[in-house]
Symmetry: C2
Subunit: 418 residues, 2 copies
């Protein structure tokens, strides 16, 4: 894409009305815009990151055979009354509609997917299966000061699984854990994301979430130095040891929740009487699991982790573009022609290779401005064509200080492998 055709939302200063670093840097670099507390727009650069995050999550969900669907934002009051959450869930937005009806705005979708799934569950033969969506959720958060880590409106992947037995649920649960591990690796946060044990609530000793270690994280966790699982504060106060290997070598650290994973058992199938006929023809209630992952939240977490004092440093897998090609115009008309010709040739070649490239072809920006904006945006590979590169190309990785001068013929090798 030509940068001259990309509306520039970059700001010279950090915004003053944001406490959270993720929102500060993402606003300044032109990835998001704050509409009001906890509510953001995703600008063209930011939406590209969101879509790449979604693509990775979708791919890993499809690999485990989960089926994608899309449920509404507007929910009938009756469904939420049935589970008791119309009154109990204080973050539930409520809205008055036609004919004195009231709707909830979905902060989660158990109340919708449970009655929906009855339409495809008749016998044990229809189970197990998983349904997921990537959808905009709304929560009436009392505080909304963590940028896109905890918004009033946010994008989430929520997966629900349906089973005849707890064994089947356990198998599925393991499979989702495997998919999550792959996703965290894809994002480059595999080694700093840990499975965390919290108190289990009604159905099991522990419930689990995935926490990414983060200096500004909202939560405090205790990471086992032996097996790299973690526990939350409540658990450590109870038992002071790792629930997996019993080591007492637990290190306190700040972290932020990236995903969660719950064994719901029949908590929601009971009120809706979601049932199946077993092999003896008897009706039984369906066993369920649910598995959340914050899409917009992950963009925030990645911004918190991958940056330096100059700006963002996106991992390759989610960067808005793979290559930032910058041309520096020359005042000498002849040289300028050669420079533009080479830059265009590089741009065409990268497009040919299927490498998503932002080409900074702007004539009214100084080299200093171009480089500063490039560092701020944080595209992994920077290529410069200028008088100084003299018919060749300057190659630099965003996360390195080194520059190299390469030939056009080396482009593929450098762009694909670094």
């Amino acid at each position: 894409m030509l940068q001259s055709k990309l509306s520039n939302f970059i700001r010279k200063e950090f915004p003053k009305d944001e406490e959270a670093y993720n929102a500060q840097i993402l606003i300044r670099a032109g990835f998001i815009d704050k509409l009001m507390a906890g509510v953001y727009s995703y600008l063209p650069l930011g939406l590209r990151v969101i879509k790449r995050i979604e693509k990775i999550v979708r791919q890993r969900m499809d690999e485990i055979g989960a089926q994608e669907l899309l449920m509404p934002v507007l929910h009938p009051k009756e469904n939420w009354q049935k589970t008791g959450r119309w009154e109990k869930l204080d973050v539930l937005f409520k809205v008055k509609a036609q004919e004195d009806k009231e709707y909830a705005l979905g902060p989660t979708h158990e109340e919708i997917i449970v009655p929906l799934s009855q339409k495809t569950i008749f016998s044990y033969k229809d189970l197990p299966f998983g349904l997921y969506q990537i959808q905009t959720k709304l929560r009436n958060e009392p505080r909304a000061k963590s940028g896109i880590l905890r918004g009033r409106e946010f994008i989430m992947k929520d997966l629900y699984s349906f089973h005849t037995s707890e064994e089947s649920l356990n198998e599925y649960y393991q499979m989702v854990e495997g998919a999550y591990a792959k996703i965290f690796n894809d994002f480059g946060i595999g080694d700093i994301t840990v499975k965390t044990y919290s108190s289990g609530g009604s159905f099991s000793k522990y419930s689990h979430e995935f926490q990414t270690i983060l200096e500004n994280g909202e939560d405090t966790i205790y990471v086992c130095q032996k097996c790299r699982v973690a526990v939350n504060r409540e658990i450590i106060e109870e038992q002071k040891s790792c629930p997996v290997c019993q080591s007492t070598n637990l290190e306190e650290t700040k972290a932020s929740e990236t995903a969660n994973i719950f064994k719901l058992m029949t908590k929601y199938s009971d009120p809706f009487q979601l049932s199946f006929k077993d092999s003896n023809g008897e009706n039984k209630n369906v066993i369920m699991g649910c598995y959340g992952m914050g899409i917009s939240r992950i963009m925030g977490i990645l911004a918190e982790i991958f940056h330096d004092e100059k700006g963002l440093i996106w991992p390759k897998s989610v960067a808005p573009f793979n290559v930032h090609l910058i041309v520096l115009h020359s005042k000498d008309e002849e040289s300028n022609k050669d420079i533009l010709k080479l830059a265009q040739k590089v741009y065409d070649e990268l497009n040919q290779m299927g490498v998503e490239t932002l080409y900074d072809d702007r004539v009214d920006k100084s080299p200093g401005e171009k480089f500063a904006e490039s560092d701020l945006i944080g595209i992994p590979v920077r290529l410069v064509v200028s008088q100084k590169t003299n018919g060749k190309i300057e190659f630099k990785l965003r996360n390195s200080q080194n520059t190299e001068i390469i030939d056009f013929s080396d482009l593929t090798k450098y762009v694909k492998n670094k």
Copy 2:
């Protein structure tokens, strides 16, 4: 995809609580589910259609250089007060939030994109440009009886353009019209979708929308038999002739709005003082256009048009899958092995070719059930492998009665070209 792994939401009967055909057939065929009046879930098959519609629209928007972003559902009350629509727009959903705040749920996004775009508009050099989103909109419709043609929650593409002059707006307007014409052709409704002239409101003699001719359409239009534009009832009562060629040969027909296109001029830039510095350094308000297209509505319109008494007949461009491969098992174990082997070979070959294929591998369904469900779902190409096809493959187009027996080696030719 293996059909045994696809949750089956197909119903034996049409739903009794739907007046609109589009919702009746899409619910029965397992594409959508009704949560309440005007609010639907998109089930796995339906979401595939929605995504293909979105992909086509996105591609055509990108071709004209429009930039995609994503704005929120939750809007601050103040923005809607500024334009006077907080009180005036009766379909606006309002919701109470924390700290006695009130939000609107976005039915359209002028109130958001206008102040947002000021952050990237400084001088005339930053104009023109277009920003669009594909997003879920909410409208508190008094009646919601047209299925997904007029929902309380729906998916829409809304594009906004920003200009220094009316000439620039007119050029952009023409360009969007061109993109829309391509989109309608892509959907196979190019020849039955007409530009319709309505009374213009404040800024010009006419405003325009695109109407698709439809037996059950909500609107009545009058199509010029000479130049194929249309007028609405109000215009025909005034002038009884075509506004383009002055022909009086206008035919009354039912139709449904597929898209609209407005010259907003400074209607929304005025209240927000959205301005730019012109080449003389003077501040002027930005001239705007907006261009809507209903994504979920188009799925409904296509279902209304492309069906027969057996079910849906999707156009190739938006079908949930391109090929429906059906295997009919044999009771003879040896034959069954051969049949399954060939079906698998066909499935592998289609995947290899990048043809999205639904493979009906289910063992507990009769041939009659499989064929009936296949006709209902409406995938363009049906392939059958059975004892009867005797080592070959039966090929049938959904919109034809003819079947042909083809060799495996002819697969590419048949699937790619038909």
